[in-house]
Symmetry: D2
Subunit: 184 residues, 4 copies
Amino acid sequence: MNALAPELSVSRWLNLAGAPPPSLSGLRGKVVVLHAFQMLCPGCVSHGIPQAQKLHRLLAGRGDVVVIGLHTVFEHHAAMTEVALEAFIHEYRLTMPIGIDRPAARGPIPETMGRYDMRGTPTTIVIDRDGVIREHAFGQADDLSLGVMVGALAATPPRAFATEPAVSEDCAGGACAAPASPPG
Amino acid sequence: MNALAPELSVSRWLNLAGAPPPSLSGLRGKVVVLHAFQMLCPGCVSHGIPQAQKLHRLLAGRGDVVVIGLHTVFEHHAAMTEVALEAFIHEYRLTMPIGIDRPAARGPIPETMGRYDMRGTPTTIVIDRDGVIREHAFGQADDLSLGVMVGALAATPPRAFATEPAVSEDCAGGACAAPASPPG
Amino acid sequence: MNALAPELSVSRWLNLAGAPPPSLSGLRGKVVVLHAFQMLCPGCVSHGIPQAQKLHRLLAGRGDVVVIGLHTVFEHHAAMTEVALEAFIHEYRLTMPIGIDRPAARGPIPETMGRYDMRGTPTTIVIDRDGVIREHAFGQADDLSLGVMVGALAATPPRAFATEPAVSEDCAGGACAAPASPPG
Amino acid sequence: MNALAPELSVSRWLNLAGAPPPSLSGLRGKVVVLHAFQMLCPGCVSHGIPQAQKLHRLLAGRGDVVVIGLHTVFEHHAAMTEVALEAFIHEYRLTMPIGIDRPAARGPIPETMGRYDMRGTPTTIVIDRDGVIREHAFGQADDLSLGVMVGALAATPPRAFATEPAVSEDCAGGACAAPASPPG
């Protein structure tokens, strides 16, 4: 039922503060909260982004939960440019790592957004330590519910390591767009 | 460091819906969120009570997390009567079990409030499956933080059962007023 | 169309700070904002009362606009007593004059509430310098709209005094039929 | 004390819906609320712009109060472009007329912002029927206060027309020294 999270396709990372670019495969073993937004999406600006940033501030020190912003521009491409995003990040004092979803070869939907089949922004995706999608919510996620889910996943150890590599292998590349196989 | 939660002293329960009156000893093995409030406390009405009620709605179906309201009247006793609390519960559509903290033989501080040495209202106390106080916060608790804590505790199994009975025994009765001994 | 505001029927005033009990007839020539509330009405506590209190703070120094709270208890009479209201006023730091709507000889609806045919609480009634009801809103009134109306009425001089007695005498419309008893 | 409002210098108007570009001289006789913002200014997005838009919706039908947005870009010029502003207006469903403050020949401060000596964004400026600045507020303006002021000015007829040209000519006080260039 729950699918393995396809890898992120990011054309550029911001707010890395010297750290190497994150990847879901590299973060296996940690809980990942992925917040997909657009800087001109009202619901993102008023609710989703502050929530993600707050969760990042709250949990960044723990090391076992990682919050990642993803700028999934699927409309107004000429307005939501990289330089605009940089200004946005500066003005809203965002400190979590933020990836720019890589534009697709065809069509307005960027690659990661397409892989996850997101309906729009804001979208909150929670991935457990085994790389499995445990929540995929379009719209405003409730603070308490999100907190409970993240707290529970963070307190849950990963499953047997043996099942991981096989699954992980399937997901190395663009083929992850359709993670048909069930999680281990 | 973290103390075993002293037992509740409640003169009357509301919103039980036919269930037996809860006790912390009876809830051992579950996570308990205790929300101490006064119906005329502005911070309780605007933030704490809605938060507790929301958490109750969110988690009541799970069976392993219990949210309990505690009406800890320490001022304006003539105003915050039982009949007033009943009307308050009705108007604010509260459905979580709510206990009336038993008035003390002397002084304005009711018994449970005294046992926990609460500074005032709202106070949020989170108790783990082993009966240990994991959070004691005076003032407005943050939704995300509270959610993460509750989620984590709910995903954590209780410790060795062997240590429980002994501790539990010490706490059977009014003697819990001074939980001087450290948690197991 | 707009009816003359019936006089208030108040059994007791709070927050007068030594001033004589207000009456609408005595306030003729000033703009009056009447906020009818119940202390256990959620919409009053979260929105209406803070709005009235803010308007009071904002305009009390001007002398030509008067904000009056009216505790119109029509349910839970045993809960919303005078001593409870006093505690409520203290806890919520209310400083505007607040009248307790006089209980009716029969039925749960107090006298002023009946005279104005209020649907419930919160109700905001704005009365112009001539004593005419210019707004009667049940539910949450919008800050900007209320501000514009009050500002406009405050900037409008009263009409010719000659026309007042006539209007006052027959009350012009069916709405005035209710206040049969003379004001206190 | 209160200075005559310097004319707007706008490089392009949006949301005119076919109406001719507004000018303060052309709006003399009406109350004008000028909301200066930047699309990447958090306080503008969360408070100032919704307030201005709400005031516009509330009063646009009256004809005697005009709400004007002014995009006063003084930082991140490469991010807050015209095409970005168009997308912003679309996403936030803004319908009030919005002018783009004309970039100055030198320096980052656009012309109108310079003429009014604005400290930043959001800035709310209220201009009475005589073209006199009655409020110049930097930061978040309170809804009730703004409403009362606008309502009062809208209910106040303009002064004697004879005094206008004289005031307009020399601008009466030192504060008008800034708008050296003639209005458009």
